[in-house]
């Protein structure tokens, strides 16, 4: 076994950019003052936060710095947004979301359902694209909140947020739109104003900042009841002494991500497409789970029929390749991915679905290595499957 790590699981988390780490270090060493303090020594900390807020404001193209609050992660951003809007506006009891949201959002709604909210879960088609007609029909005067992820973490499929916003506002001007943007931050440009977004959450560790920091955009016309009560920090919307070094790191990561958006759209996309087309060409029981859907540039989700994902991942791990699977066995739950189920991925392929997610640190050599090694791993796993007859048929189809 070699020690080389080929990390193709960047939708799970990313490595910290060296420049991000460097930017944080002074605030972990000498500049440790509480930004709320009154002496000169705290000026550097409080200025750092102010600057960081400006950077994140630009990163999502908010109108005002006041619209940005810092949080501890994407999950906190989502919880603050969702519960914050609903608790502020308690007379409305209807929520709309999608069947393919991340669990950090989905489980909040499952919880709210138990508290008496009515939640509509909008479906997707077999490519993972949102059913906009169903969304439009679901909106009522009682709808308090619509929550739609920008890109799906498992498939990378993008939702047409601008269109979603138009649909919502045309039927109910009061209803708020929360966008979980965790999987688009650093991958495509974010513009909250152009897309008519009321609240938007991001998480640092998905774009080369460390774990433990996120941000939430709340537009100035949207009121929330805070989730975390205490001091006056973040204009009372999120109490707790600011995590200065991590906030600085988040901002640095956002700057670097902003600068590499072009690279993301061209080079990373090229490598992703190379990996994808080679797998589909050389492996007869591979299928692209998203079809022609519009996706973020770094993600591909490929199902391998009649074999199971965990076993593929274990063999990949043995040669240093890190990816993830929507299979039941990997997650510890017994059911395969709710996203792939919502897409009606055939059950012959759902358990063998593998997500590959690249980053700006992924190299062409790494992609070539995967392209070289994967066929023999799939072959090995396929050879012990009880479905040899079905596999033979697939093979015949593929060679045609």
């Amino acid at each position: 076994m070699n020690n080389k790590i080929i990390y193709l699981d960047n939708n799970a988390t990313t490595k910290i950019d060296e420049k991000v780490l460097e930017s944080m270090l002074p605030y972990m060493k000498e500049e440790y003052a509480n930004p709320s303090s009154m002496y000169d020594f705290s000026k550097k900390s409080s200025n750092a936060i102010k600057e960081a807020r400006g950077v994140i404001k630009d990163f999502v193209n908010a109108a005002d710095e006041k619209e940005i609050i810092f949080t501890s992660c994407g999950t906190e951003s989502a919880n603050t947004a969702i519960r914050g809007v609903l608790n502020y506006n308690k007379n409305k009891k209807h929520i709309i979301t999608t069947k393919v949201e991340h669990p950090c959002v989905l489980n909040v709604y499952k919880h709210l359902e138990k508290q008496g909210y009515k939640v509509d879960y909008i479906g997707v088609n077999s490519n993972g694209e949102l059913d906009l007609e169903q969304l439009e029909q679901a909106i009522t005067p009682d709808t308090a909140l619509v929550s739609v992820m920008w890109a799906n973490n498992e498939t990378g499929v993008l939702n047409p947020i601008e269109k979603v916003s138009q649909i919502i506002k045309s039927k109910n001007k009061e209803a708020k739109l929360f966008v979980d943007a965790v999987q688009v931050a650093g991958k495509i440009p974010i513009d909250v104003q152009a897309n008519g977004i009321d609240l938007l959450g991001i998480s640092g560790h998905k774009f080369h900042a460390p774990k433990g920091v996120g941000a939430l955009y709340i537009n100035s016309k949207t009121m929330i009841t805070p989730l975390i009560i205490g001091g006056h920090q973040e204009r009372g919307k999120r109490a707790g002494t600011e995590n200065v070094p991590y906030i600085v790191g988040l901002a640095k990561a956002a700057e670097l991500a902003q600068d590499s958006l072009e690279f993301e759209a061209t080079e990373i996309k090229r490598l992703r497409d190379k990996l994808e087309s080679n797998i589909l060409k050389t492996i007869y029981n591979a299928r692209l789970n998203t079809g022609v859907a519009n996706r973020v540039p770094n993600t591909t989700n490929i199902g391998f029929e009649y074999i199971e994902g965990e076993l593929i991942l274990l063999h990949l791990s043995d040669i240093g390749i890190c990816a993830s699977s929507g299979s039941a066995c990997t997650s510890g739950s017994l059911e395969p991915s709710h996203v792939l189920r919502a897409m009606n991925v055939p059950f012959t392929a759902i358990h063998g679905s593998i997500r590959w997610s690249l980053s700006r640190f992924t190299t062409e050599d790494e992609i070539d290595y995967v392209i070289e090694k994967l066929p023999s791993i799939i072959e090995k796993v396929t050879s012990i499957s009880p479905y040899q007859k079905e596999l033979e048929q697939l093979k015949a189809l593929h060679s045609k």
């Binding site: 009649y306 076993l311 274990l314 012959t348 358990h351 012990i384």
Partner: protein
């Protein structure tokens, strides 16, 4: 990342005895493609000894390891010895499995049991015919197609005490979760049966039933101006009389079945039936 033993890793990396046996004397299977794991096992038996075993598995690392080691465990053994192998033996031989993966060892056991069910020294029975028999068993978990017998065996062989453990070992209850109360009932019944069969006299049983009625059921009915009285007990059948406002109430059957019987079943086991004496 699962904490797999060296042996588990060795077996999924280099599975032994993969394949099929064309003239197998016994074939067994467990699991399904839809459920996420499936195992097929083929046995060659000569003079009551398993001379060869092969497997094919659709499943995760621990499923492959369980199947692979099972074939090693049974080759060279007599049919009677093989019949005694439990899922626990498979897991132990692998140096243990993570709790959430115990169902893989159960799948090995089930496939083996299935194969031996079809084995008769004079030849082997049509598998489809057996499948038909199997479906007659009471299905508890419809998501993963787990029958009462499989759950019962897992409880018995591994001393399982909670629904979560049953889910880890059999997958039952791991998806929609609707059958969790039914699994709890099976656990209760299993341990009540053990207890009642071991030690309880008829008098103790009557006192126990009466205690549940007096402390849990009667006070609730009294709130609505009714009451309930124990008339007779015949094993698990309990005869009661409804009194006060309950007696003429048109909802009395519902009170009896969905309320009183449920409380008795929760406390004393799911095989309790309640009957009203007018």
């Amino acid at each position: 990342m699962w904490d797999y033993s060296e042996k588990v890793m060795d077996h999924y990396r280099n599975p032994r005895n993969v394949g099929t046996i064309d003239d197998a004397d016994a074939i067994g299977s467990a699991g399904s493609l839809a459920c996420g794991d499936q195992l097929k096992i083929y046995l060659k038996i000569k003079d009551n000894i398993v001379t060869d075993a092969k497997f094919q598995t659709f499943g995760c690392g621990s499923a492959v390891a369980s199947s692979s080691i099972l074939t090693e465990m049974i080759i060279g053994k007599t049919v009677d010895e093989v019949r005694k192998i439990t899922n626990k033996d498979i897991a132990d031989e692998l140096g243990g499995l993570p709790p959430e993966k115990m169902h893989c060892s159960v799948m090995g056991y089930e496939a083996l049991e299935d194969a031996l069910k079809s084995y008769h020294a004079d030849g082997y029975i049509d598998l489809e015919e057996l499948k038909g028999e199997e479906t007659k068993e009471k299905m508890i978990c419809t998501c993963f197609q787990v029958t009462e017998n499989v759950i019962w065996d897992a409880i018995k062989q591994n001393g399982l005490k909670t629904v979560e453990e049953v889910t880890n070992y059999t997958k039952a209850g791991g998806a929609c979760g609707k059958c969790r109360s039914a699994i709890q009932d099976i656990i209760n019944t299993y341990y009540n049966k053990e207890k009642s069969e071991e030690s309880m006299t008829t008098t103790q049983w009557i006192l126990k039933v009466n205690n549940v009625i007096e402390t849990q059921i009667s006070p609730e009915l009294q709130k609505d101006g009714g009451d309930i009285e124990l008339v007779d007990i015949k094993n698990k059948t309990i005869y009661v009389k409804l009194k006060g406002r309950c007696s003429g109430c048109k909802n009395s059957t519902m009170t009896l079945k969905s309320f009183a019987e449920k409380i008795l079943q929760d406390s004393l086991g799911s095989d309790i039936t309640i009957i009203e004496v007018k």
